[in-house]
């Protein structure tokens, strides 16, 4: 594959993925409003389109058309930079996430992953350190939140961003450490490699029927990951940075229209990233039943379906929890992160590494 | 095929800029950042040399082979030290600010006879 083709294919893939992702984000907001409405015993959006299905579109148009207000005495450059940074970083994460095997369109075979390359002789290689890149990009994402709050020159924003940066740094540790168990089991940092390790392992299912997903040996790691991921994405019950009852709207108090929308999208994209990661690392990614009778294209797309289902499950979980749990107090949040999750994650690593070492 | 000297020159430039920052900036946090810049400059030359020795196998004076990858390990250690330094240094800055209510190093000059 020459460089030109590579670039063309990559651009096409990026366009498709970003389109799907943003659409997904838009309809996640719809889903959230619907679900939370149902949980709270009300209807949610119903007016725009059937079942309110066009509501996201309306929201988007509203965001775009609203006046883009930049308050006085903000640090203008950073005020504008912050939402862009947040959205960019969340979108970059998607680049390394594999959605399936490879796909053949018009004689061209390519990986269902932006950063994946299909070799001429078959086989796909993706970036070696995919997981690390996601972690790194996530950690850069903190800047968006932090700078937004600080540049707003408002006390609520500042407090929100202080909380956000402290919270995200703290839970990043637990998040990273919760994944080490997976790394020990799979021996690779490549996301595709981790999924393939689960798929190959599933040829010998645990107890004869359980797929060889890492959720089973790493159940503790999974829950640590899940909790830390909720905190990383500033979702309930860890949504202190934007706790409206305390801080009006936290770090994005002063933001409106498209800049607010960017934060909004960044948050949902992050949710997607986290959900994708959870599916990939703990639930075998696109692993699922294969149906050999289908045509090749559909056969190749079937794993994407399984993957989408798993991701949807996590999105649903997010919304479900939002509708169910109250918010933590800030000291509880920090204590939980440092005094419970972090030691537990370390213990998990120690036990896992002993087992791995024992099994040779 | 990037000449090694390019990396070294970049490293030297960054290092010198770090030193200038240390000398010329007044804000203690910025001074601290200048130190980080110097550390990064050194890291760059570590990584560059690691690759260099990988393609130019060499021996140490003791006769042992140069382990090129140890350049990366050194970078790792530098980062660890930088992290520790940042933790303690920023804690010091906070306590200095608490008592002196300034971040200007020219006004934090009690360290004299």
């Amino acid at each position: 594959m020459d460089t030109t083709t590579f670039i063309i294919v990559a651009v096409i893939k990026i366009a498709i993925v970003v389109f799907i992702m943003l659409t997904g984000v838009a309809y996640t907001t719809w889903l959230e409003r619907k679900l939370v409405g149902r949980i709270q015993n009300r209807w949610g959006p119903t007016r725009v389109g059937p079942f309110g299905l066009l509501q996201p579109l309306a929201d988007g148009i509203k965001f775009i058309l609203k006046e883009d207000m930049v308050p006085d005495s903000v640090h203008k450059g950073l005020f504008i930079l912050a939402p862009a940074l947040a959205l960019t970083m969340s979108l970059i994460s998607i680049a390394v996430i594999p959605f399936g095997g490879d796909i053949t369109i018009a004689g061209h075979t390519t990986a269902l992953q932006i950063s994946g390359i299909t070799h001429a002789g078959g086989g796909i290689s993706d970036i070696n350190i995919g997981l690390l890149i996601i972690l790194g990009v996530t950690s850069i994402g903190v800047y968006g939140v932090a700078l937004a709050g600080w540049s707003s020159n408002s006390k609520y924003s500042l407090l929100g961003s202080l909380r956000a940066s402290a919270q995200m740094i703290s839970y990043e540790l637990a998040l990273g450490l919760s994944l080490v168990g997976i790394l020990l089991l799979s021996g690779t940092l490549s996301l595709r490699g981790i999924v393939e390790a689960q798929i190959i392992g599933s040829e010998h299912p645990w107890l004869g029927f359980l797929p060889h997903w890492y959720i089973f040996p790493q159940i503790i790691g999974f829950f640590i990951y899940l909790l830390a991921a909720f905190a990383e994405t500033n979702r309930i019950p860890f949504d202190l940075p934007e706790a409206e009852t305390e801080l009006v709207a936290g770090y994005h108090t002063e933001y409106s229209s498209m800049k607010f929308a960017m934060f909004f999208m960044a948050e949902y994209v992050n949710m997607f990233t986290v959900a994708c990661l959870a599916s990939l690392l703990f639930f075998g990614g696109w692993h699922g039943p294969t149906i050999p009778a289908l045509p090749l294209l559909l056969q190749q797309l079937l794993p994407v379906l399984w993957f989408a289902i798993k991701v949807f499950f996590f999105i649903f979980l997010y919304i479900w929890i939002r509708g169910t749990l109250p918010r933590f107090r800030y000291d509880q949040l920090m204590a939980f992160g440092w005094k419970f999750l972090l030691p537990l994650a370390i213990a998990n690593i120690i036990v896992t590494s002993f087992i791995v070492a024992w099994r040779g | 095929m990037v000449p090694l000297s390019w990396y070294l020159i970049l490293s030297a430039i960054l290092f010198s800029l770090g030193v200038f920052g240390f000398l010329l900036k007044r804000n203690i946090i910025t001074i601290f950042m200048s130190i980080e810049l110097m550390l990064n400059a050194v890291n760059l030359s570590f990584v560059a040399f690691a690759n260099y020795w990988n393609t130019h196998p060499a021996k140490l004076a003791s006769g042992a082979n140069v382990v090129p990858l140890s350049g990366h390990v050194f970078v790792f250690f530098v980062m660890v030290v930088a992290a520790a330094e940042a933790a303690v240094g920023l804690a010091i800055i906070i306590s200095v600010f608490r008592t002196r209510e300034t971040l200007n190093v020219d006004q934090v000059n009690l360290l004299k006879l």
Partner: protein
């Protein structure tokens, strides 16, 4: 010859262990424990020494040399920790351990009531260690260690009653005067190293014996070495001109005077000269000077002894005089006679000192003979042993002193260099010795006991003598009154622990000379001389003998040699003369101090000038004070203290201080507290380092 190792190193080490135990823990021990430890280790040393000598006796491989460890190695030069046992050191080691042990026993009784009991025995054991090192060393350097060590022990023991200024000063005096002599010894050793490249006896004497060094080839060198060694010996053995410390050394406890300043340490010089006889044999001029010095010392000290009234001082001058005899013997190349006299002297002089100690003990610390008298009845055992010793030292046959002294006088008479003159002086000295010893004897044991009495002589002397001299004498005579005050008034005999050594020594004083009965008397050979002969003739007799005709009259003979049958008559005559001298001395002593006790005062008045001269020891101390001490003191004060020490050294130190202070004061301005200026200096330093590295081409 294969023989089992004798482990000679154990002999000196045992007393050192004793010293260490007593020195480190003695403060907490009871006196009984301290004395047990001290005696035990000394006795063990004695036993080991006897064992070693016994093993070698029946013709073992002598000299027996044993190297324990390497001590100093510098280039080709090396000095080991090595030990050397031949006939000479056998005699010395037996005398030292034997007499030393007896004196240890005596000390237990004598020092019983003194403070610092453990300290005393620590020092005493330490002395034994160094003395045994000295006599057993197989090289000059190790000998020098012992030499210095006994000097140290001597210093410590003289100043044992350090609360007393006179004792402390006497200690310092002994130490300093000894140092002057040591200087000579050191120079001598350096010369030996330079010319022989070694200090080991065996090597040095072996090289001499190999015959490369004939007198005319190396007489300058050997004379120089000999004179340097002699100078060392004059310090240690209290010879003219360095004898002045010994009388003052009587400030130490009496057992110390007996052990160190009579029997053992002061004979180290004699031992050293005898040990180095091979060198002296090749240096006839040095030998002449040895003879002159010995002779001078003998008569000089004898005259001074006549006027002393302090019982220990009389003995001190007597010691100097007898040491002079021994040096004279060495000077006439009669080393065996010198060593013989050394041995007998060790017996009777130790006995005399210990007896004097017993007397002092009996009269409650009094040392002035004029306050004694009539003690014969009160302390009979002391009297009898003192009598034996007095007769021995005076040279009455068959007491030991007679034989050894006769040997020396005979050898002196036959000497090529001024033989008859030396002999005459020796005989006069013998007469004087007899006189002052019997003076002591009569004054102490006969007449009336008169504590507190001062006779006319003393009054006359006190009236006419300069005040400061009187002060010295008085301070000595009352010396131990403070410290040794155990029971004034009642005169009592000493306990048996003190008397037993006295008796043993008395027996030795009587019979000790019989091992060396000269040939012309016994008809057989002189056993002592015969015993020592292999050592004393280990030099190159052939070459020296061959040298005699070459160098002519001035050359020495290595040894007076056993007199031939024809000379026996002459020998009898010489012996008779010395006995006659002794008898004359006895007669005058009886006359002056028993029969006509007023006479000494009259005579003193008659020849007042001479009397004062002698009483004040020829003003030697004052002369030294004027010639050496005062100028030195002035020089030290003006030049070294005020000039060098205060001006230059203090100036340098203070200057360094004030300079750094000044520089610091200026540099302090750099410490502005401004972090960025510090950083600037760091940057400059970094730039300098990099520039230097590039300049030096590091890594190229």
């Amino acid at each position: 010859m294969n023989q089992p190792s004798l482990n000679l190193w154990v002999i000196p080490l045992l007393p050192l262990i004793g010293a260490a135990i007593n020195g480190l823990f003695g403060r907490r021990f009871k006196n009984a424990v301290v004395s047990t430890v001290a005696l035990l280790f000394t006795a063990a040393s004695l036993v080991w020494a006897v064992h070693a000598v016994w093993t070698l006796w029946p013709g073992g491989d002598r000299p027996y040399i044993e190297t324990v460890a390497t001590w100093i190695t510098a280039g080709s030069f090396s000095a080991p920790f090595g030990f050397y046992l031949d006939q000479l050191s056998m005699i010395m080691v037996l005398v030292v351990t034997g007499v030393g042990f007896l004196i240890h026993v005596y000390s237990v009784g004598y020092m019983a009531h003194e403070g610092g009991f453990y300290r005393f025995f620590t020092y005493l054991n330490l002395f034994m260690f160094f003395m045994l090192t000295l006599v057993l060393a197989n090289n000059y350097l190790l000998m020098f260690v012992g030499w210095e060590g006994v000097g140290l022990a001597s210093y410590l023991l003289i100043g044992f009653f350090f609360q007393k200024d006179s004792a402390a000063n006497a200690g310092k005096k002994a130490f300093i005067v000894n140092r002057i002599g040591d200087f000579g010894f050191l120079i001598g050793m350096f010369l030996i190293i330079q010319h022989f490249g070694t200090l080991n006896y065996a090597d040095v004497f072996g090289k001499i014996a190999s015959g490369h060094y004939t007198p005319e080839l190396g007489w300058g060198l050997f004379t120089a070495i000999g004179l340097c060694l002699l100078f060392g010996a004059t310090g240690k053995s209290a010879q003219v001109p360095l004898y002045v410390w010994l009388p003052d050394a009587m400030e130490g406890p009496t057992p110390v005077s007996a052990l160190i300043h009579a029997a053992t340490m002061v004979t180290a010089g004699i031992y050293m000269i005898a040990r180095s006889h091979a060198i002296f044999n090749l240096a006839p001029h040095a030998l002449e000077i040895v003879a002159i010095i010995g002779c001078l010392t003998a008569i000089f000290a004898a005259t001074m002894g006549i006027t002393q009234t302090d019982i220990k001082r009389v003995l001190a001058y007597s010691t100097i005089s007898q040491l002079g005899y021994m040096v004279l013997a060495c000077g006439v190349a009669a080393y065996a006679a010198g060593i013989f006299h050394l041995m007998t002297h060790a017996f009777f002089k130790a006995l005399l000192f210990l007896g004097a100690g017993s007397v002092i003990h009996a009269v409650g610390g009094e040392q002035d003979m004029r306050r004694m008298g009539g003690l014969r009845k009160k302390i009979p055992i002391t009297f009898w042993v003192m009598t034996a010793a007095t007769f021995a030292i005076a040279g009455f046959p068959p007491f030991s002193g007679f034989f050894s002294k006769d040997e020396i006088l005979g050898a002196a008479f036959h000497n090529h260099f001024g033989g008859p003159v030396l002999w005459v002086i020796g005989v006069i000295t013998a007469g004087l010795t007899s006189f002052y010893m019997f003076r002591l004897w009569f004054m102490t044991f006969f007449g009336e006991y008169k504590p507190g009495a001062i006779d006319e002589g003393e009054e006359a002397h006190a009236a006419s003598a300069p005040a400061h001299v009187a002060h010295t004498a008085a301070s000595h005579s009352h010396g131990h009154a403070d410290d040794e005050a155990h029971g004034h008034g009642h005169v009592h005999e000493s306990p048996w622990i003190m008397l037993a050594p006295l008796v043993i020594l008395a027996v030795l004083s009587v019979v000790g000379g019989w091992v060396g009965i000269p040939q012309f008397m016994s008809g057989g050979q002189n056993h002592f001389e015969h015993f020592l002969a292999p050592v004393m003739e280990s030099g190159p007799p052939t070459s020296t003998q061959a040298a005699v005709p070459v160098t002519g009259n001035d050359t020495i003979s290595t040894h007076a040699g056993p007199p031939s049958e024809e000379n026996a008559g002459q020998e009898w005559l010489l012996a008779g003369t010395s006995v006659a001298a002794a008898v004359i001395g006895l007669f005058f002593a009886w006359l002056l101090y028993f029969k006509r006790r007023d006479l000494p005062g009259l005579i003193a008045a008659k020849i007042h000038g001479i009397y004062l001269l002698v009483l004040h020891k020829y003003y030697i101390d004052e002369g030294y004070g004027a010639i050496f001490v005062k100028p030195l003191l002035a020089l030290s004060t003006v030049v070294f203290w005020h000039g060098v020490d205060q001006g230059i050294i203090d100036g340098l130190v203070n200057g360094a201080g004030s300079t750094s202070k000044g520089i610091g004061n200026e540099l302090r301005r750099m410490q502005s507290g401004n972090i960025r200026s510090y950083a600037a200096w760091v940057a400059v330093g970094g730039a300098a380092v990099v520039a230097i590295m590039i300049w030096l081409g590091v890594g190229k």
